[in-house]
Symmetry: C2
Subunit: 481 residues, 2 copies
């Protein structure tokens, strides 16, 4: 590299560093999040900008939590992101890769050599490697596999064998086990020898010689009981436990309801396999919420904010295509009544009102029902009929109220009372349709074993649009023309 | 009560009990959630049904976690719900009231006498009473207040004084404090005397004589260190702490990122006030996610699945009214072009396609931006321009692709190539509008200090509907007719 090149690159870098430092400041504003002292940060920031002190930035990055580095990487456009990424000390590459979103992770991985990726993965636990695995090239995974000790290889294989939304995909293997026939004193000495406990250790797991799960020993019990007591006298035998193929969503609800911090994961033959921690559960909840928000809006995958345009187009393609099909159908429904519209053009201006209010009302119903299914509130046949009756009742009242409003609006505009009556009736019918379909779509999808929420908004809107146009234009054609 | 009355009530009750028992079974199917042994449950269920063994049901209820009772209450229609509610032992009324949703809580509270409510609230901690307070009649709150010891009164006052979305509204007062100049041995003896530690105690809080917060002492440190060591040598001084008026959402993100179980809440003058636990944070996350789903669908409040019809109508009223106004506006935009539609009625059939695809695409953009704002990814001016440029790029490509598809469809249907070109152009323009407004709405709302997400879907759809109709019909009027 020539000197000139180096010079210009430095000026460029300085600009980028200022951005990074700005972001560091920005993110440290909340007092609660301060890990560095305020003056330390100022000093570091100044020394970096003034002296182009790269070692200073490195020092600063080293003091940040991996999650914070991940956050800053996500907020930077691609080019700047890679400059900062290369400054992150390689021992922390693995941790940072775990913390960033899938979309951003891909951009970072593309920037790394295979041997760097293998080195990064080796610093992680088996369950963490399993989380990264879908994004890693196959030669890297093989490399990691060869480098792992036998026990961890088995764990990695186990963790990778469960579907993404199962407990098996979330569990970790950081369990500390004890026997039930020893004294607390012995356990205390054992822990002191270990020197450090895994994060989120609120309890130890009690197993027998064949690794069968016997119960849990909460750290609290270790602390408040006489050290001479035997473990079997202070452990809890009735505890909440999971199988690796339980649904992650069910585990999440159990953690929420019973305020758990960790729970054992056991095999069908009652052997202790791993544990699930509240931290895994929170991550799952967040990912799930993101997924739902994306599905609602019609985004197929997580999207890097600074993804190239063509990637974003690809991500949004599928749902736009579905939307286009439903719009075509609605258009053809209107096409059926072109003669009527030609005779009374006011129909064209009024028809979107019927469709739109129906769509909104249907979305309200479907959201209620999807949520009730998720919380397990709909189990009895009798509840189901009660619900349908209720939603129909709501839609009749809404139909009468809003139908009258729209009817009066129509009369005021077009001085045609027949048209006013007709649109009021069409509103009522479309709201009834919305209520019925809004209850039935999620219930039927649930019966078929599908996710009741996925694409529900698109489906209900398709029904209320085409249905609304058909009802309104059909009624007009029959009674008015 | 006459004997006959009692008889018929019993038969009715038996039916209802069977329902309850069915639900109990249903909810215990996941092995992980079993607290009762399988055979115990069967035995209980049978004895209740056969002998109308109310004591048996009571026994069963007593063994269930309060969160499970809450869940069953939520799944039962109002009448059945109250029968079960009256069977719950009064010592657990408070806990169950805490666990149910706001809407269901109101139905339970309406069924209770003032003195029962006071008794229920008295069993709770100050921070828990503060959570219930908005739903309690004022005479009950006064009664509770009088019954509390002085210290808890102060705590209750403190907890009630912070807004719902602040750390102060989530914190609890179950802190165990120690001094930094004592030996581990002394702390261990102290804990043994306490006999039990509050839930989610992963660390003790170190304070000085004036209650100033000095740092935390993790239970792990107590266990793995030599009992002769002094606390100041093993405690952590740099830790994440919160102020009671920090935003709850920020605290949530910190818990997620740094994998916290508990964290200290301190006053501006550095005194230890309370703590925040992962359990409070999870509850907040769930409530927040529910709120967002409701806002998306246009529901104002949490709605009891079995709420009376008129209550549901009231809950859904506001957003339907807003929707109606935007639909009226769109209708008037179409009204402007009635002459054109009369001349070329195909316009009426085609115009919803332009509006609908624009709405979907705009929702995709706005969802991306709202999420990026929530994660703090948009802070730099330069990022903002990059984002706008990217979204415009995406909409141009989408406009060309989908515009061509719709143009060809139109040509195939109406054999009018001008109309095909025109709708393709209108699609492109409406997608551009959707991208621009989809980026700007949330950014402007954020600048104004508002919630970028609230009602964003309604707003973008209003713009793309009216805008889509205007662009398409306007272009047709100018160029085609």
């Amino acid at each position: 590299m020539t000197e000139e090149n180096q010079e210009s690159q430095h000026t460029n870098l300085e600009e980028k560093l200022q951005k990074v430092i700005y972001l560091l400041h920005k993110y440290k504003l909340v007092d609660g999040l301060v890990r560095l002292q305020e003056d330390q940060r100022h000093h570091l920031a100044n020394s970096i900008v003034q002296k182009q002190n790269f070692a200073g930035l490195q020092n600063m990055l080293d003091k940040l939590h991996s999650a914070d580095i991940a956050r800053i990487l996500e907020a930077l456009p691609l080019e700047d992101r890679l400059i900062l990424w290369r400054m992150v000390t390689s021992e922390r590459d693995g941790e940072v890769l775990l913390e960033v979103s899938d979309a951003v992770r891909q951009t970072l991985i593309e920037d790394m050599e295979s041997h760097e990726l293998v080195a990064a993965a080796e610093q992680l636990d088996a369950n963490e490697i399993a989380d990264l695995a879908p994004d890693l090239p196959s030669d890297v995974i093989e490399g990691v596999f060869r480098a792992l000790p036998m026990e961890e290889r088995d764990q990695l294989r186990a963790a990778m064998s469960y579907p993404e939304d199962s407990v098996g995909a979330l569990m970790d293997f950081d369990v500390i086990t004890v026997r039930e026939d020893v004294r607390i004193e012995v356990v205390l000495r054992y822990l002191r020898r270990l020197g450090e406990l895994p994060d989120h250790t609120d309890q130890l797991f009690v197993i027998d010689r064949e690794e069968h799960f016997k119960g849990v020993l909460r750290l609290n019990q270790l602390l408040v009981n006489d050290p001479e007591k035997i473990i079997s006298d202070v452990m809890s035998r009735e505890t909440i436990k999971f199988h690796p193929d339980n649904k992650a969503e069910e585990a999440t609800q159990a953690f929420e309801r019973y305020d758990l911090i960790s729970a054992p994961v056991i095999t069908p033959d009652q052997k202790l396999l791993a544990r699930l921690t509240v931290n895994d559960v929170i991550d799952f909840m967040r990912e799930r919420a993101d997924l739902e928000a994306r599905n609602q809006a019609g985004l197929s995958e997580e999207e890097d904010l600074f993804a190239p345009v063509w990637k974003s187009v690809h991500n949004r393609w599928a749902w736009l295509a579905i939307n286009l099909i439903t719009a075509f159908i609605a258009s053809r429904v209107i096409g059926l009544f072109e003669d009527s519209i030609e005779k009374l053009v006011a129909l064209a201006a009024l028809m979107p009102i019927v469709a739109s209010v129906g769509g909104n009302s249907g979305n309200q119903t479907i959201t209620m029902i999807v949520r009730a299914i998720a919380l397990g509130q709909i189990n009895l046949e009798s509840s189901m009929y009660k619900l349908i009756a209720k939603e129909i009742g709501v839609s009749i009242i809404n139909g009468i109220i809003w139908g009258s409003v729209v009817g009066l609006f129509t009369y005021a505009l077009y001085q045609n009372y027949q048209l006013g009556l007709l649109i009021a009736l069409a509103m009522l019918l479309n709201l009834l349709l919305a209520a019925l379909v809004g209850v039935l779509i999620p219930l039927i999808r649930k019966k078929l074993g599908r996710d009741p929420a996925l694409g529900s908004s698109v489906m209900i809107t398709a029904v209320t649009d085409s249905g609304g146009f058909f009802i309104f234009l059909g009624l007009a054609t029959w009674f008015l023309l």
